[in-house]
Homo-oligomer: 243 residues x 6
């Protein structure tokens, strides 16, 4: 059972990454009363808005507006209310020392038990790899007493989970943790449908959820699992019992 | 919290493998009321009784007697009462179709939620690699309806966990699961001390438990963890929440 | 363009493996006039007929009859006429020297340019791993002049391709070759539907074909690709141009 | 058969990389009427001109002049006429956003079907690793509609091939594609001999071409292959038939 | 036997890294008359001085003073006299072209046969990974004739050895070289005890030295080995005999 | 300097493997007074005598005679006098318990410091992989006191080195140890020329020796190295100094 005292921080490189890859898990945590904070680093203007740029006269500001509205609608479906959009430029995202400190501070503020973000490899998406390193390093800094940020004392090391990348095998992705999202799948579908221009991704991640559901059944013998999401771990599980 | 309805099956290639590598975890499950079944495949006469063979006039029968007594004492320390010794020859252990069926039947009888045995690679110990494959394949057979064993219907797929091998890095071992054994560490020490002739291993696995405790603290930020044991997973965790 | 002089040998461990994993590619080669020979090593009585064994009074002979009929129907959909079923016992399949020679002879007879069979790793399916090694080793023997089989002189080394295993990532599968099967996808669907008892697999491999179609479009920029199948290679491509 | 409508872009980190590692393949494409464009990013003044710096009074300008002349001669042997030298500083090469845009634009201009450049790892040569990442990321940017460059609309994703690095095994190189260069080997030899000061490399890549020829024969059974070049792939082959 | 003409350069990212990970090997080389030069890149103020920052009113200057004194004492125990502290900021360390040239010059000055520094991967410690790349690349630059530094001609390629990282398995560490440090272990213990505030690390690396001693005995059959340190290699051993 | 008290055991799967892959190293050890014992497991009748079987009327006995004579001549060139041919059948070699005991006994008799044999992977050559496992496991058995062989007490663990396989990269070969064979290269050439029917291998391994010489120079800065042979290690180097 998900504990309602659990803090979860989700860091999404572009506008919709958190929906395709962790929408079900997010909805489930929210539904069970956990505290979910979402940081979206960029609108994905350059790298993940292909369809919008097919419209004549398109502008950066307008693309941002469209994406912002989609994000807001998707968050409603998932039940997430604590959302920040940091509006970094994308393709290729640059991490400065200031940005590193900003995320370190955010982690110390949220005190997440779990951080969900991009895993270390993502073929065809260098931004995702940059963000993976960024989030991991900020999580390490957040635990170090010598990294002094006024009003934000050092935090405990959060557990880190990596999204499944788009092309899992050529991104060296291994599913370490497969989360059953059957009870909230409709919410994920609702959120995905907010990104209408990307119908091929809605199809794709719908099919993925079923495949991962099949794997969940095979690995567990539990036939209740219909839809699932897969994540990688950044370091071993530590705890009191075999899981 | 460990559930007292949990069934655990431990399969140990030689007499003492289960003590060095999982003694703490076993003691903890027993202490919490779980059902722990232990199968020891061989006495380790040829490959893991070096010291006994330094005694003039040593015989195979006598080595077995010594090891059996040590096993019994160690099990007392850990609280394990359901123990079978299958007395296979070791170095090199051979897996026949009959032996495969025997273990398949045992799994269907125990209906384990967790199986703990050797992981796929163990440098300098070919028997451990043989047993790893043996246990995994029997667990797969145990789930197949077409593998007919009278009176033993197909079981659900058990989770499989691999012991940490002696030389972890050159055996490609990655710790996937680190179990805190602080509350039962004295029991593990007691069990290890039953194998007096192998003082160098008692020292070795005492040091290991501390190192893994250090890693447990670093990965979790929980400073209560003093001693720990590490295991690999054979396939992904599947469940309802991030762990 | 597929050359109509091409010889293809497909080796399937169990009754339906060739349909789920290569049905589209097979249909495409047949449609283009290539010579496709199919060897099915077993009926999958023990390991891959779970549903049939739920029927009271089921017998081995009856399971074989059901599977044989399904195979025949599926082959009709794909257009394959040169089919042999070798009726090995499954779970676990054993490779004897006689069986090695039999396949070596078959390869020398067919003289395949391409062999399609199981890849080296398949989590949860030890038979598939056995067959992968079996096929590869027979292909090596088939090229050796010193392996004397009366009437069957040594063959040229065939190219080997590995099926995508069921759980690709935990089977270390990398797609090396992705084949567009859009033009024959209906035939594959027809063939899959011959295995009615395994509806979950029909769903699964339908979803897979779409996912691989998505990857095919991303890697090539060719939006005609709707459905695809992925394969691994056993050794490098050799030829006259970059492919 | 190589199609004369094929566009190939070769990106070489230093003056002679394209000759040692892809000279035969380049010559073959030119000979068959393909359009080959070559970008040489640096003269290799600091890192790959050891011998020239043994001459007393040597200057940067003079090293560049020598290398430029060698490049011109080598290109004549290979038949390449579309050559640009971007004159970046080497050891260590730095990739700025401007340089990223410049290459993205070049890719959109050339519209290559194939890009040949450095693979991801090259022990002892950090510049080659930098360039590998640079070329791959520019190829991704080139396909994105949101990366606006006036007059250069988004391109299709090109296939990427990696040169064989100097010390293949400790650079984790796997040959994915081995190209027969027998018919143009003399041209490659001619081009290599333009870099007289590096006799040890002429010997080395001569021997390599023979070794790869041996592998080509073993993998294909085609004994016409005498000389060959090996490349890695950046992502799977996608197409209509098994290759 | 260690040759007294051997030059060794040790590069430590933070104040105490060289003690925990190579203190025994350093002491042994000094004792045998080799020339050992030590460069400490930073005091580890931000990332490796947690305990000091628990003291109210702590300042950066004071942390540096404490660490400097500890370094001096530790060096006395190990016998190292040629020590430089470069005082880079840590967490995260930045490598500029000036810093690259500075280390290149240092290597040309010391002319090391062996360089000991951080290996390529260190989970939870991004600085160590940065330094690994820094040291390797400077060693490559140091051999290149075209990298002109007045008064410092090109050096021979040094052998590079990587420290064992703190969590070896999740840092992909393989021990390639295990050095017996039994004869100097007391000196290492003395040096470790200079870092009193880090008692948990003193315990940890004491246990490690025993574990590696156990591995040294198993791999060699030499029971004299009690304590040992493990290192990775950056590239193959080259020499006149099997070692 | 090679010590004349060193014992070396070479185990070759087929007739000529030891020449192509370790002929130089063997000659060097013999020349320096070491004790070199050679065990050749098979004549390679089926798998490695292609050319001989092109002769009409060829018989197994005759092939063995030809190969025996070639072995004798090659050994003369290398200076090896302690040679045994065990005449196992090849393609595919089978290891029985009796054969395991025979090699274990041989190791206890020779008491090798170094064993040189096939490494764990060799694409296109399953026998080589079988022998690798065979030799490693026998070396482990040889150290175990409980493996009782009358008159042959347990031995110390020998260091194991793996030959470079024919296609190194697709066999996952990493060169761990590169041995300079310049001073004995003529002897290796002489030995290779005893296998006249395999001219393509004489060319191949001549080219290989030069390539490895090039790598030896690059890794060491020692320009005396002209010819070299590469080996993998089975486990870490253990000793008193960095090598």
């Amino acid at each position: 059972m998900i504990d309602h005292d659990v803090n979860v921080l989700v860091v999404s490189a572009h506008a919709a990454d958190f929906v395709w890859r962790a929408g079900g898990t997010i909805a489930k945590y929210v539904k069970n009363g956990a505290n979910v904070s979402l940081v979206i680093l960029s609108y994905g203007v350059r790298g993940e808005s292909n369809d919008l740029w097919n419209i004549a006269g398109q502008t950066v500001e307008n693309v941002k507006n469209v994406r912002r509205e989609e994000i807001e609608q998707a968050c409603k479906h998932l039940g997430v209310t604590d959302v920040e959009i940091w509006d970094f430029a994308d393709y290729h995202m640059q991490i400065t020392p200031e940005r590193m400190e900003r995320l370190t501070k955010k982690i110390r503020e949220v005190k997440p038990h779990h951080i969900i973000s991009h895993g270390p490899r993502d073929a065809f998406n260098p931004d995702h790899e940059t963000v993976s390193k960024y989030v991991f390093e900020a999580s390490v800094l957040s635990t170090s007493n010598g990294v002094r940020i006024d009003g934000y004392p050092a935090a405990k090391q959060a557990r880190l989970f990596g999204f499944e990348p788009h092309q899992s095998e050529i991104s060296d992705f291994k599913p370490d943790v497969i989360i059953d999202i059957t009870e909230v799948y409709e919410q994920k579908e609702g959120a995905m449908n907010c990104f209408k221009a990307q119908q091929h991704l809605i199809d794709y991640y719908g099919a993925k959820a079923k495949l991962r559901g099949n794997h969940a059944r095979r690995c567990s013998g539990n036939n209740q699992y219909k839809y699932a999401e897969a994540f990688s771990r950044f370091f071993p599980y530590v705890g009191g019992e075999l899981v």
